[in-house]
């Protein structure tokens, strides 16, 4: 039996062509949702409260060189982001605006890890893939400027890579839900739902434990299988309705920002070429007087299908990375939810209820007088909350405190943390060894032996 996934097959596949329509609609949808998201972020005042005001920022591993700009600079970045969203939406100077959006968005995302969201990660990946895809080569202002750029057919991978990425999100999110707490104890939903009884109309059902079980199992099945239902033509429409219901419900129940909107729009890429073509034709007709698209006359302009080796290699690596990276947690001892080693960048969304109170004690190595730290003198409420339950952030804060008290004249600060953390309604336990001098510990890929082991009962 010949291997189906041989390299030859892969390059053959890359060579196939398909309609540009789904890609174009995806571009418009992505530009629109990102525009909305950027406006919303600024409207909420988060540029100041999340990026400019905090005295310190928690960095991503390997990205501690990323710093926020002064206030004016941050607003300039957001200004550029707004313009690039418009550029993507309208397909205007797309080659530049798609790159600008990716850079601005990812830069802002990298400033502070306490604001980490899986959907920001998703947006960054998609924004990067948008740079590679010729999504502006039809139904765009770029085509109006230069009709010779018009394409009707593009290589299949430029559409399918987005489907792949969306599939990764759902399937990993589904797999992550297959665990004891989620399925057998309906946790954390049996904590979250009873807090939502004042939601209009459906509120009362959340007081029942049964509802939490129903939602837990339905959520797991939805995430695990929705992609397959979207891929098959017969089930596509019901699946899409399920997508809308599922994301609207989570959007109403939880404070998850624009994520539901992102997914509801992104998933439309699974619809047929024909569907997208009709959509474009319909909108084109609305604009027909100005005749933006000379589209009908150029039915057969096809993008050269030759895919360079470097691109093929890159795409394969990217896909492999996406498939493998979420599994890295298996290489760590201990409970993934407790130690969170390998937790991020793995599509573990709304998976646990975890909260902690971390008290830091700083001792001057010379005099040995120990005092505790008032966290909110350095951190905002959100940063403090996130830091208190994640070991690597506790470590970062300890190192910050070391530097701070050194600058205040301490010779050799000894910093330890007492972090009482509750996970899925279990009584709080110490997350890290409260006797360890954290200033002597470094953040690496290696397992952190100062994280306590989690005791479930």
């Amino acid at each position: 039996m010949k291997s189906i996934i041989s390299y030859r097959n892969f390059t053959n596949y890359l060579g196939q062509s398909t309609s540009i329509a789904p890609l174009v609609v995806f571009r418009v949808a992505f530009g629109f949702v990102m525009l909305f998201s950027t406006v919303r972020y600024m409207w909420m005042g988060w540029v100041d409260t999340q990026l400019v005001d905090p005295l310190l920022h928690f960095s991503y591993y390997g990205f501690d060189w990323v710093e926020p700009l002064p206030r004016v600079g941050m607003y300039v970045v957001f200004g550029i982001m707004l313009i690039s969203c418009l550029g993507i939406l309208l397909g205007y100077f797309y080659r530049i605006t798609s790159v600008a959006f990716f850079l601005c968005f990812t830069y802002v995302e990298l400033i502070d890890i306490t604001y980490y969201l899986n959907h920001y990660y998703f947006v960054s990946i998609v924004a990067f893939l948008m740079i590679l895809a010729p999504a502006h080569r039809c139904f765009s202002l770029d085509i109006k400027r230069n009709p010779s750029l018009l394409l009707t057919k593009v290589p299949r991978w430029t559409v399918d890579i987005f489907k792949f990425q969306i599939a990764i999100v759902y399937i990993f999110a589904g797999l992550a839900k297959i665990n004891y707490d989620w399925l057998i104890r309906a946790l954390p939903l049996s904590i979250w739902l009873p807090a939502k009884t004042s939601v209009p109309i459906i509120g009362p059902i959340f007081q029942y434990k049964f509802t939490a079980f129903l939602f837990s199992w339905a959520g797991m099945l939805f995430d695990s299988f929705i992609i397959f239902a979207l891929l098959v033509k017969k089930t596509r429409w019901p699946a899409y309705i399920a997508v809308i219901i599922f994301h609207t419900l989570t959007g109403v129940l939880f404070q998850i920002g624009v994520f539901p909107l992102v997914m509801i729009f992104a998933v439309t890429i699974f619809f047929s070429n024909d569907f997208h073509q009709k959509l474009i034709d319909f909108v084109t007709r609305l604009f027909s007087k100005s005749n933006i698209m000379t589209w009908r006359n150029a039915r057969n302009s096809i993008m050269p299908l030759k895919t360079g080796n470097w691109l093929a290699g890159f795409l394969i690596s990217l896909c492999l990375f996406q498939l493998l990276f979420p599994w890295r947690y298996l290489a760590y001892p201990g409970n993934i939810f407790w130690a969170e080693e390998g937790y991020r960048f793995a599509w573990r969304v709304m998976l646990m209820e975890k909260a902690g109170t971390a008290t830091f004690y700083v001792k001057d190595g010379e005099h040995g007088r120990e005092g505790s730290v008032i966290n909110h003198q350095f951190l905002n409420a959100h940063q403090e909350k996130q830091m208190a339950m994640q070991p690597d952030l506790i470590l970062q804060f300890a190192h910050f405190l070391e530097d701070y008290y050194k600058s205040q004249g301490m010779k050799d600060p000894f910093v330890r943390a007492e972090a009482w953390v509750t996970l899925n309604a279990r009584p709080a336990q110490l997350l890290v060894d409260p006797t360890v001098d954290l200033t002597k510990m470094d953040d690496t890929w290696a397992p952190k032996d100062w994280i306590t082991s989690y005791n479930t009962d």
């Binding site: 988060w46 999340q50 604001y115 980490y116 969201l117 899986n118 959907h119 057998i184 309906a186 049996s190 904590i191 979250w192 807090a195 939502k196 009884t197 004042s198 939601v199 009362p204 007081q207 434990k209 049964f210 079980f213 129903l214 199992w217 959520g219 099945l221 995430d223 299988f225 239902a229 017969k234 939880f254 404070q255 998850i256 920002g257 539901p260 969304v349 709304m350 975890k354 909260a355 902690g356 109170t357 008290t359 830091f360 004690y361 007088r369 120990e370 005092g371 505790s372 730290v373 409420a381 959100h382 909350k385 339950m389 405190l401 008290y405 301490m410 509750t422 309604a425 009584p427 709080a428």
Partner: protein
């Protein structure tokens, strides 16, 4: 699709059986948050603010008398009225949301700041052009600026009265009036429109009444630990030693009483108790209704007992002279140990959102 529906149906059925024999079924009785809000507002929050309003009004009356006729007798009435007001303040400081959330922050973070800056007070009262309403300084106004003026720092009562010139009288009147106006406004707003608004917002998301109340309750508790115990005792990182001048109510010397009253109010909110000791609906009842709640309540009650006895063991007399006392360290440690119960464990079990930042989601 049909097959999927069948499979789903079977799953659902299994679940129905699975949870019918799961744990005690009174988990299914929902807790009425609106009832808790009504109970706390009508029996604790509003009466406490009304009491504070009355004692601040009385303070203003005594200040007027003292200004009109400055003698030791009237000074002693002002002090008595101040003590009553500042004790009432301990029973309101946790309610710094809604009407009590002033332009500069919760009222206690504006009018309850200590230590005051003696130099700022002196320069403000000697500055004819000083505009209190336009000032952003918190350490020259409020309860403890009044305290500084009426107790002085080290003078005898006779010296204080003799030195109480027109500038001091004007400034005392000015900052007392600010207190009076503020609490009149807060009580008025609670009684006119805010109560309805407070009860109606019975969700748990950020900005809901439960979230506001809970958030201020925790902050207020942490203020007790951080600023009334830890800092004076010199137990904050970077401090070289204990410092008696950092206690609350340094000039009057009633710091210990205020710690007692402050924790009393924390307990009233948590345990559901009016200030005069009547049982009402509090957070413990809410907690008892949720998964993992009863265990947390048990743990917390033990902690509260420990803190109660640590407080009663505090040395009598001026706390500022005894900030090295081990009893203070013991109290700090116990307050610290209980912080996680109040802060993270409780909000986690109740599903209360504290900030507006979006959480992680699918």
């Amino acid at each position: 699709m049909k097959k999927n529906i069948n499979i789903f149906f079977i799953f659902t059925l299994c679940l129905g059986f699975a949870c019918s024999d799961d744990e005690d079924s009174n988990d299914d009785l929902g807790f009425d948050r609106a009832e808790m809000l009504v109970s706390l507002a009508e029996n604790l929050i509003i009466p406490n603010f009304e009491s504070l309003q009355a004692s601040v009004s009385n303070l203003q009356v005594t200040v007027d008398d003292f200004v009109a006729s400055t003698n030791e007798n009237n000074l002693s009435s002002v002090r008595q009225a101040w003590v009553e007001a500042v004790i009432d303040h301990q029973h309101c400081s946790a309610f710094g949301f809604g009407p009590a959330d002033l332009a500069l922050g919760s009222y206690a973070s504006v009018l309850g700041v200590f230590p005051v800056s003696e130099s700022k007070v002196e320069s403000a009262l000697n500055n004819p052009g000083f505009n209190l309403a336009g000032s952003f300084d918190r350490d020259l106004r409020g309860f403890y600026a009044v305290e500084y003026l009426i107790y002085g720092n080290g003078q005898t009562d006779a010296e204080l009265v003799a030195g109480f010139d027109q500038e001091r009288k004007d400034y005392l009147t000015l900052i007392t009036n600010e207190l009076k106006t503020t609490f009149d406004g807060i009580v008025n707003e609670w009684n006119s429109s805010y109560l309805q608004e407070f009860i109606a917002s019975d969700g748990t998301s950020a900005g809901s009444s439960v979230s506001l109340l809970y958030n201020e309750f925790v902050k207020d508790y942490e203020n007790l630990k951080n600023f009334k115990v830890e800092l004076p005792a010199g137990l904050t990182a970077g401090q070289e030693g204990a410092d008696g001048t950092l206690v609350e109510a340094f000039y009057s010397g009633i710091s210990r009483d205020l710690i007692v009253e402050h924790f009393e109010n924390s307990k009233n909110i948590y345990l559901g108790m009016s200030r005069d000791g009547q049982e009402i609906v509090g957070f413990d009842e809410y907690l008892s209704s949720v998964t993992g709640g009863p265990e947390l309540v048990t743990t917390t009650l033990e902690s509260i007992d420990g803190i109660d006895s640590a407080i009663s063991n505090l040395p009598m007399g001026r706390l500022s002279d005894q900030v090295e006392a081990t009893e203070l360290i013991i109290l700090r440690d116990l307050l610290q140990d209980n912080t996680a119960n109040f802060k993270s464990s409780m909000s986690s079990l109740l599903g209360i959102s504290i900030t507006f930042n979006s959480g992680d989601g699918d």
